[in-house]
């Protein structure tokens, strides 16, 4: 019992095969326009793909074959798929309780029963005190809590979450994230996010989409510590370099040698390519690279400087370095300047593609 999805949407160049076992929370990440929202729309029935099929817990959501042959299409309301969007979208004319009771009531429960399950789900998200309020009387965080309760009260087989924290105040997001962590445990869910923390705390697995296709798929810890796609590396906050395997490391297409801690599995694979990652904070910046301990040196041109916590993020085309404001002042760093990024070899992880 699980979700099996295979769908193509020609005019969006979308072609996805995804299967999610029951009880797994999958984070969908990827650049804008990669197909994350399309995936949710296809599963929830708001977008009809050109071809493909989807089965959820034994029920066929759609089965669209070549034109002319018989196809199956289950309308959105009969799919058992609930959707939680960025904005709570609580029905403005109903109280919080009636919003939560909407799903049960719509699927045939009596007024009393649906109110009871509404109250139970309000308890689950610690929002019972707001039961009688209208959405206009709720803060953004409170409303999103109630939207979560409303989605869960419909008892969906699959929960779709489309950046549920994106529209919230930074101050209230942690509490909602914690609550989501609690209610998502053991549920089957797809979570679209831009945030590594969401993926780490909420998801068992991360799927990276680019240009309508899956480019990376793995356990959350694996994807975030050893990314294989540029986007996953960016989300994880890591510098990533690809190259050809050489003894002790890899060599990029530009001929730069990168040495580091080589993963044991690299020797067991037949791949001739390898990936190196390191944290921006492990980078030191020099005008002339010093000698000494084993180190990797990258000649770069600075493109941007921007604040990053108590550090300054120095961006170049491909790599980032986080250094202290003092270091920036001392070297007089400005965009357009040519410098060397230096990383100790034991700060660099190298593993197979």
């Amino acid at each position: 019992m699980s979700l099996e999805l295979s769908a193509q949407v020609t005019d969006r160049e979308f072609d996805l095969d995804l299967s999610v076992p029951t009880g797994q929370v999958v984070a969908l990440i990827g650049p804008n326009g990669a197909g994350k929202s399309t995936t949710l729309s296809v599963i929830s029935g708001l977008l009809r793909p050109d071809r493909g099929h989807a089965i959820l817990d034994g029920q066929t959501l759609f089965d669209l074959k070549a034109p002319g042959s018989a196809s199956v299409w289950t309308p959105p309301h009969a799919r058992g798929v609930a959707l939680l969007a960025q904005e709570p979208l609580l029905f403005p004319h109903l109280s919080a309780l009636d919003n939560v009771a909407f799903g049960p009531r719509s699927t045939g429960q009596s007024k009393q029963d649906s109110r009871n399950s509404g109250l139970r789900w309000l308890d689950e998200v610690d929002a019972r005190e707001f039961a009688d309020r209208k959405p206009a009387q709720l803060s953004g965080g409170q409303a999103q809590r109630i939207a979560v309760a409303r989605a869960l009260a419909a008892e969906p087989s699959l929960l779709l979450l489309d950046e549920p924290m994106a529209a919230l105040d930074v101050a209230v997001a942690p509490a909602l994230r914690q609550m989501l962590g609690r209610v998502l445990t053991g549920r089957t869910a797809l979570l679209v996010t831009h945030d590594a923390l969401d993926a780490l705390l909420l998801a068992d697995r991360v799927v990276v989409l680019e240009d309508g296709r899956i480019v990376e798929d793995g356990a959350t810890g694996q994807v975030l510590s050893r990314p294989r796609s540029a986007f996953a590396a960016r989300i994880a906050g890591l510098n990533m370099i690809r190259g050809n395997r050489v003894e002790g490391g890899l060599r990029t297409d530009d001929g730069v040698l990168v040495s580091g801690r080589v993963d044991a599995t690299l020797d067991q694979t037949s791949s001739t390519e390898a990936i190196a990652v390191f944290r921006p904070s492990a980078v030191s910046i020099f005008e002339q690279p010093p000698g000494g301990s084993p180190q990797d040196v990258f000649d770069v041109v600075i493109t941007e400087l921007e604040p990053q916590g108590d550090r300054i993020r120095v961006r170049t085309g491909q790599l980032n370095a986080d250094v202290t404001p003092a270091a920036v002042a001392q070297l007089g760093l400005t965009p357009g300047q040519r410098v060397s990024f230096v990383v100790k070899a034991n700060e660099v992880d190298i593993y197979p593609v």
């Binding site: 959105p76 309301h77 029905f91 909407f102 989605a151």
Partner: protein
């Protein structure tokens, strides 16, 4: 509000035509009030023929407003929520009675449902005669009033958007449930003002009614027709009844404002 909102100055010349226009609309109402024979007012508006006309007007306008709701709500729903070829052209045609001279509408109805009309012979065989009956009055009123409801409601539906409907569907609500519990409550102000406008338009209907339904006391002679007839024989009665219609119109505008503007 008046004190807090800073304003860019208005051109001085705008005030004169603005005041003149307002006077142009209000002065005739004042003239009507001045002309009313107040000592006989109650007697004039409660004569047999006046009461019959008022009762017929209220009865037919209520019925045609109900018909506007029955047909107009689904029409607005289809126009606002679906896309199909020729939708724009269809919308223009549906709104045609808004700009058509009512008497032309009456002629068109006559040649559709009258004895020699498009459907007349078919209806004749079935023993149904519509023209020059109370049914014809209701049909004439519905014909001219329906676009008001469709226009006002479709606008409300487009403004409300369909995002709440999407959420409702993913929570398991069937399309009818979504319509009843989400769409309708969200557009209720638009629906109310649309219905009030339709009622007002029905109440004032004259041209299509007299053409298609004629002027039989108690059967097809609504208040506007009664006023038009009395004007010849008893101007005092015509003025009194006119004032009655003005009062009803003022009441309707008040209700429509209460139900959030005129759409």
């Amino acid at each position: 509000m008046a004190a807090s909102s800073a304003q860019v100055g208005l051109p001085r010349w705008a005030f004169l035509p603005a005041v003149a226009g307002a006077l142009f609309i209000m002065l005739p109402l004042v003239a009507l009030l001045v002309r009313v024979d107040w000592s006989n007012f109650v007697g004039l508006v409660t004569s047999d023929s006046a009461l019959a006309a008022l009762w017929l007007s209220l009865k037919t306008s209520t019925t045609s407003t109900a018909l506007c709701l029955v047909f107009g709500v689904p029409m607005a729903l289809v126009l606002a929520r679906t896309e199909f070829r020729g939708e724009q052209a269809l919308r223009s045609l549906i709104l045609l009675p808004l700009v058509l001279p009512p008497v032309v509408g009456g002629i068109a109805l006559l040649y559709t449902f009258g004895r020699r009309g498009l459907l007349g012979s078919t209806l004749d065989v079935l023993g149904i005669q519509i023209a020059f009956s109370t049914t014809a009055v209701v049909m004439a009123q519905t014909f001219v009033a329906l676009p008001f409801l469709v226009l006002s409601l479709e606008g409300a539906m487009r403004t409300a958007g369909h995002r709440y409907e999407v959420v409702a569907a993913t929570l398991g609500a069937r399309p009818t449930t979504v319509f009843r519990r989400v769409t309708l409550p969200l557009v209720l102000p638009g629906l109310v003002s649309g219905a009030i406008l339709s009622f007002a338009r029905s109440l004032g209907e004259f041209g299509a009614t007299i053409t298609f339904a004629g002027s039989l006391q108690g059967v097809t002679r609504t208040l506007p027709l009664e006023i038009y007839l009395q004007r010849e024989t008893d101007p005092d009665a015509a003025v009194a009844l006119s004032l009655l219609l003005v009062l009803v119109a003022v009441l309707v505008i008040g209700l429509a404002r209460g139900g959030r503007g005129l759409g």
